[in-house]
């Protein structure tokens, strides 16, 4: 039977199936990775559109764009869900992970190619469900679900009688199962399909980051799924898990949600850490400093990430001793995170640094992540959080770590590997323009929000007291600037495919020493028919 498979590899078309079979029934990790990247782009564009509408509304007091405040609530809800589940995760795990984990560890493909296909199409179904929910009756005479991405009952049960939220629950469940299957696939691939000689302690850090992330997903998403199903039955068949009138407790949902929700933020940032490590090492022409410390810092972040969830819930009325525990546990996370930042700087120390576009994104990621990290300490301190909780300070904090930490790392990785994936080089001027538009834009957008938060402006409001106007205006202008950056991004991607500047096998030179750089750009449809040997 083996000969049947071998013939596919060696025929004149590189074994590529025809269009429909190739893209719709795909089992090839690189094709599925590309599909994930496209889905992430769509999710990001829709989610980004929602955020620009929010900033337009907030650029001056009054209701200029949202006649029904429920619609504004729906926009913030879907912005959050789309950016997390349908932009960051598909790109940084599904897209770049599918593309580069097998290439980096010397595997011919993922362990379960058909399950890989199932993961992707479940996510596509989830996205469709989510987008449909925006147009179905939700509650309060408006369309869609407006209970924020945290979906707290009773607002998400009795507060939204329409079918919109039921669709959204189905979408989130589908996305959750998609991620669980993806996680099983990555764990199996990384544990079993590393090239001969590649021990766990020789494995590239991006593969390490995806491994830790996969465990986080595998352990946290079932809890979210359970909470979602309980919400669903509370809504549809009259169970009372979260209804105090029936002996249930709405606070229980918050514990379940954040038991998932906190690991979820590391799901988004750990692969970013992995990418940054490779980019810094490549452009410093030095190996990563403190490799083992870097790998186990990610493991430590993952483990501690499971025991700090209630720091999202300091104002729910928990016992003071419980708060004290969560305060202390949360502070601990700063230690492994600090190890990572200092190790990146030490990797650069003594290096011979080139400032190509991926390196610019990576350096900006570190700078912005440090800012987002220190504001996290304010929020971890339970007493201070009382003043900052549910204000714009929180919004500023998590956008610094996610929309700058994770998204800048995504652009770093995308520009780093764009030539490898497409076979073409990007226009440096356009890619640089996008970087500066983004860097200045996001800082203008989110830095003022810290001060709005300190001044007490609550989150999730379409209209605000007039004294918050100046900082909101600055923030809005910043967001328009980064929106122009997105347009420039799309332009440079299209330009690269039109002009077709050929990329060499290893266009970054000697600093890029992981296995994907030994392959052609783009890599053959099936790689490593003879497994690479790691010394």
């Amino acid at each position: 039977m083996a000969t049947t498979y071998a013939s596919a590899d060696t025929d004149a078309h590189d074994g590529k199936p025809k269009f429909w079979v190739r893209w719709f029934f795909s089992t090839n990790h690189k094709d599925i990775g590309t599909l994930y990247l496209i889905l992430g782009l769509i999710g990001g564009l829709v989610g980004g559109f929602l955020s620009i509408m929010m900033r337009l509304e907030l650029s001056e007091p009054g209701l200029q764009f949202f006649g029904n405040p429920h619609t504004y609530n729906m926009f913030i809800t879907m912005h959050g869900l789309l950016m997390i589940f349908f932009m960051v995760m598909p790109i940084i795990i599904g897209g770049l992970g599918n593309w580069f984990v097998p290439l980096m560890i010397g595997a011919p493909d993922m362990a379960f190619p058909r399950m890989n296909n199932l993961s992707f199409w479940l996510l596509a179904v989830a996205l469709v469900c989510g987008v449909i929910s925006m147009f179905l009756p939700g509650g309060a005479g408006g369309a869609g679900f407006g209970g924020s991405w945290v979906m707290y009952p009773p607002l998400s049960t009795s507060g939204h009688p329409g079918p919109a939220f039921d669709f959204l629950i189905i979408g989130i469940l589908a996305a959750g199962f998609s991620s669980i299957f993806g996680a099983i696939n990555f764990i199996t691939t990384i544990f079993n399909m590393r090239a001969p000689g590649m021990t766990m302690h020789k494995m590239p850090l991006y593969a390490w980051s995806v491994l830790v992330t996969s465990w986080l997903l595998l352990l946290s998403l079932p809890v979210l799924a359970a909470a979602m199903i309980m919400l669903f039955t509370d809504r549809t068949v009259g169970t009372g898990f979260f209804d105090p009138a029936m002996g249930g407790d709405p606070l229980m949902f918050q514990h379940l949600f954040w038991f998932f929700g906190h690991p979820e933020v590391y799901v988004m940032i750990l692969p970013a850490f992995g990418i940054i490590s490779h980019v810094i090492a490549t452009f410093s022409r030095k190996p990563v400093f403190g490799y083992l410390g870097m790998a186990y810092a990610m493991v430590a972040i993952g483990v501690v990430g499971f025991v700090v969830w209630a720091h999202h819930m300091y104002t729910v009325g928990m016992d003071v001793d419980v708060k004290a525990y969560f305060l202390a546990a949360t502070f601990v996370i700063a230690v492994p995170t600090g190890v990572k930042v200092f190790s990146w700087l030490a990797t650069m120390w003594g290096g011979s640094i080139r400032y190509s576009i991926p390196m610019q994104w990576a350096l900006a990621t570190i700078f912005l992540f440090v800012i987002g990290g220190v504001t996290g300490v304010f929020l971890a301190s339970a007493g201070l959080d009382t003043a900052a909780h549910d204000t714009y300070f929180v919004v500023a904090h998590f956008h610094y770590v996610l929309s700058m930490g994770a998204v800048f790392a995504i652009f770093s990785g995308f520009t780093y590997w764009f030539g490898k994936m497409s076979g073409y080089l990007y226009n440096k001027w356009l890619a640089g323009l996008q970087f500066w538009l983004f860097f200045i834009g996001v800082n203008l957008a989110f830095m003022p929000q810290h001060f709005l938060g300190w001044q007490g402006m609550p989150r999730r409001i379409p209209d605000y007291f007039q004294e918050y106007q100046l900082l909101n205006q600055i923030s809005s202008y910043g967001s328009y600037m980064s929106a122009i950056g997105v347009i420039v991004f799309i332009v440079w991607v299209i330009e690269a495919f039109i002009v077709k500047r050929k990329a060499g096998d290893n266009y970054w030179g000697e600093g890029a020493d992981t296995l994907e750089w030994t392959l052609s750009s783009p890599p053959p449809y099936h790689q490593y028919s003879k497994l690479p040997q790691i010394k």
Partner: protein, 316 residues
Amino acid sequence: MRISRLAASVGVTFAGLITTGLVTTGLAFASNKNGPTDGDLGFQRSVTPVMDAITSLNNYWLVPIMVAIVVLVTALMVYIMVRFREKANPVPSKTTHHVGLELAWTLIPVVILVILVVPSMKLLYFQDVIPESELVVKVTGDTWNWEYSYPDHEHIDPYVSSIVDIANADKFGLSHAEIIARIDARPAGEPRLDGRPYLLATDAALVVPVDTVVKVLVTANNNMHAFAVPQFGIKIDAMPGRINETWFKVHAGEEGTYYGQCSEICGINHAFMPIEVMVVSKAEFKRWAANGGSFTTQISQNTGSITQAVPVNTVQ
């Protein structure tokens, strides 16, 4: 290549300076007015012991240490970027380990965090352990207004406090000035703003005495809400089926009107359920409580003698 390198280092330095500059100037220029102030970069002015403690932990511990960390890391990064650029250092070193260094950057953050944990814990226990209370008020969040009651004063009927506003459908496209003009064109007797802050003012404030430990019991009828007054340093979720508690004690001499907003998303009018707290002298509170019952007339008498017709930012 040279230009982008230069630009990268200049840009990062610049952003670092702006960041730290904003944070430090913001604290230097923290406003003395009540309520939020346009362009102000710090907390609102504190009027309770808890908010004093929050403000000082923030301004004297967290902000300096965190700004120092950001500045140091940024400065180190910029130094490395210049010192080890390709042109200045063409041959990279091959160092990948240094046990002493790795131990140092694990242990030094631990020390910093221990230094920060101590005052954080002190604040937390000060805030959460409620002292002997002299007055209890019960706050019930509803969609979308607050109901206030005084369990110690049975002759004060519970009353509902709603925003002074026009219907959402009528607001679309109007500026705040236009909305305020419509509200103030109402006949006397109907709730008007009369110079009070739009989106924060209500038709019936929570009335409490100054210099008194007030325990606040908070619950909700249907959706979740959160009862928050920034200048008091309190924020506590209002949740159906559960009674949460917090406390405040407004400093002597700080009589006035203070505002907060619902701080947990609760549906369509989440942005439109403000909290208005009127802090009066102990004697005035006693009179008000003794006259309890017909609240509307009482409150208007009281507002007349305290802060009526004075915008929030010019109180005191």
